[in-house]
């Protein structure tokens, strides 16, 4: 481990080397607004190519939101062409997102954790599982630690976009898609055999299938994908713990709002006829007709 670089203004980010890879150590005291600027200054002080093409972030005990983490990783990639490959952080709420979405290797006390590390609710950021959806009437969704409506991820309301309607190109149609059968142990599906009315909330740490409609004012929050065998008019948050591979499929899409991972979108008013699927493509939520298989 190399000694830290000369001090800037305190509090400060340190540039260290571990396993000959650059590590930005960001202490708790640094405001996120200043992080990128400080990193820029640190990199400018180094001789060119001293850092190599990859780096890691060491957040230690510092809590960080998914959005800020994504912005930081993006900043290093775009501004400095440095790929963030690893993360030291005790904030468990971001582990799964960091692994799955940002493809970061996690280091806990210097050792990578087991592959399928499940996120544990963080008392500071998230509601304890015992407090989840006690008011979801008649819907038994409380069997698992479930993501809470609107708070499982740190969503940014300023990022609400209009969802794009897309028609798949012919090449999309023809391309034989060898869907990797993700044999994930522990993935479960909650079946809800009724219409969700206004005020009903379903939260589940897995996939959710609704046999009925989802009316305006009802809300589904799922760690996995959501399938509505009926008309979707309410709010659905799929991939609520950060999984942007999650999708929302319904027979008739007239949703108030769609959320997948950290993305939020408002679908167009004029819904088209027939089943549609909403998913994330190139960082945006898009809506496509559902043609008997998932348009991946």
């Amino acid at each position: 481990m190399a000694p830290p670089t000369p001090a800037l203004d305190a509090p400060q980010i340190l540039l260290l080397f571990r396993d000959e890879i650059a590590v930005f150590q960001i202490p708790e005291t640094v405001e996120f607004e200043g992080v990128r600027e400080q990193i820029d200054r640190l990199i400018a002080l180094e001789p060119p190519d001293a850092l190599g093409p990859t780096c890691r972030l060491d957040l230690g005990e510092r809590p960080i939101t998914l959005l800020d983490l994504r912005r930081l990783v993006h900043h290093l990639d775009q501004t400095h062409s440095i790929e963030v490959t690893g993360l030291y952080s005790s904030t468990q709420a971001i582990h799964r997102f960091a692994q799955r979405e940002l493809k970061l290797k996690l280091f806990l006390d210097g050792t990578p954790p087991p592959e399928d590390l499940m996120p544990q609710p963080e008392p500071t950021d998230l509601e304890p599982a015992s407090a989840t959806a006690p008011e979801a009437p008649d819907v038994d969704a409380s069997t698992a630690p479930a993501p809470q409506a609107g708070q499982a991820l740190d969503l940014d309301p300023d990022d609400i976009l209009d969802a794009e309607l897309q028609t798949p190109t012919p090449s999309d149609e023809l391309e034989p898609e060898p869907e990797p059968a993700e044999e994930e142990s522990g993935v479960r599906t909650l079946h809800v055999p009724r219409t969700l009315r206004s005020g009903h909330a379903v939260s589940f740490d897995g996939d959710v299938t609704i046999f009925g409609d989802v009316n305006p004012g009802a809300q589904i929050t799922a760690a996995g994908s959501v399938i509505v065998l009926g008309t979707l008019k309410g709010v659905v948050h799929a991939g609520a713990t950060g999984d942007e591979q999650a999708f929302i499929l319904c027979l008739q899409l007239q949703a108030t709002q769609l959320r997948i991972g950290t993305r939020i979108a408002i679908p167009p008013k004029e819904g088209s006829q027939g089943p549609e699927v909403a998913l994330v493509r190139e960082g945006r939520i898009v809506i496509e007709p559902y043609r008997s298989r998932l348009p991946r």
Binding site: A133, A149, G150, L155, P157, S198, H200, G217, Q257
Partner: protein, 270 residues
């Protein structure tokens, strides 16, 4: 100096939410910075009336429980400068919030806005207690119906017990024609019972149903008589002295013809 107004009535369906939305728009049109808060947790409507339902990410309960920052939950109305909505939670109930929580929330909102308008739920229970906790001034909405006035009277008593200044009255869904025929209580009758200052009268008009369904409050519409009534009330809130019109039908052509022909209804029946 910012001020928190609570819009309350006791009885449901007399126009609290409509009044909250329209006064908020009217005040924002005067250049004021306004936050309108839906305190009807579990039965939220204000977002729909304002046409902002699809932009809700966080709500009042999320703010109080510390799951998001206040500014994240405030929805900025893009149609007009200075208007913000703090929506209610739909999947929770009134007991998710205490009067102390609301007081703190209102204090935080008052730092950012000239007016904080609280849309109180019907009833006199927890939701009402939460709504008046942080209020500086209460506006009582009633319609000229015996049952609504009875409830308004009860609410006025409760407001006065809370060390608020004398509440002011908004008489909603007023039909001058019916009053003229003696089929509806007139403003004098209502004021005789409730004995509080009259802030304004809002005529009954189909505009209000259309605007509610479209999510565009009538106060946005320069041609709407209802919108004009709400804009006058907003101006009076700031201290302007504007006369309350009679909303009488004597201006109308057929009204004049009827009177000329001696068919006009007796006006002194009340």
């Amino acid at each position: 100096m910012s001020e928190c107004l609570v819009i309350t009535s006791g009885k449901g369906g007399v126009g609290k939410t409509t009044t909250s939305a329209n006064l908020a728009v009217a005040l924002a049109r005067e250049g004021k910075k306004v936050a309108v808060v839906d305190a009807d947790i579990g039965l939220r409507n204000l977002d729909v009336i304002l046409g902002l339902e699809n932009r809700i990410v966080y709500d009042l309960v999320n703010v109080i429980e510390g799951q998001c920052r206040l500014k994240q939950a405030l929805i900025r109305d893009k149609r007009i400068e200075g208007l913000f909505l703090l929506p209610a939670a739909q999947t929770r109930d009134k007991n998710a919030v205490t009067p102390d929580d609301m007081k703190k929330l209102v204090d935080d909102l008052k730092e950012l806005h000239d007016y904080v308008i609280i849309d109180c739920p019907a009833g006199i229970e927890q939701g009402f207690k939460n709504s008046i906790a942080g209020a500086d001034r209460a506006l009582i909405v009633t319609t000229p119906e015996v049952s609504a006035i009875r409830d308004a009277d009860r609410i006025i008593g409760l407001v006065e017990a809370h060390d608020l200044p004398e509440p002011e009255l908004i008489l909603n869904r007023y039909r001058a024609g019916m009053v003229g025929r003696g089929d509806m209580l007139g403003r004098e009758d209502v004021l005789e019972i409730l004995a509080i200052p009259l802030l304004g009268i809002v005529p009954d008009h189909e505009d209000i149903i259309i605007s509610a369904n479209r999510g565009i409050p009538a106060s946005f519409d320069d041609d709407s008589v209802v919108g004009a009534a709400y804009r006058r009330i907003a101006a009076r809130l700031g201290g302007a002295e504007i006369e309350i019109p009679s909303f009488d039908d004597k201006q109308t052509f057929w009204g004049s013809v009827a009177r000329w022909m001696g068919l006009a209804p007796a006006r002194e029946v009340m």
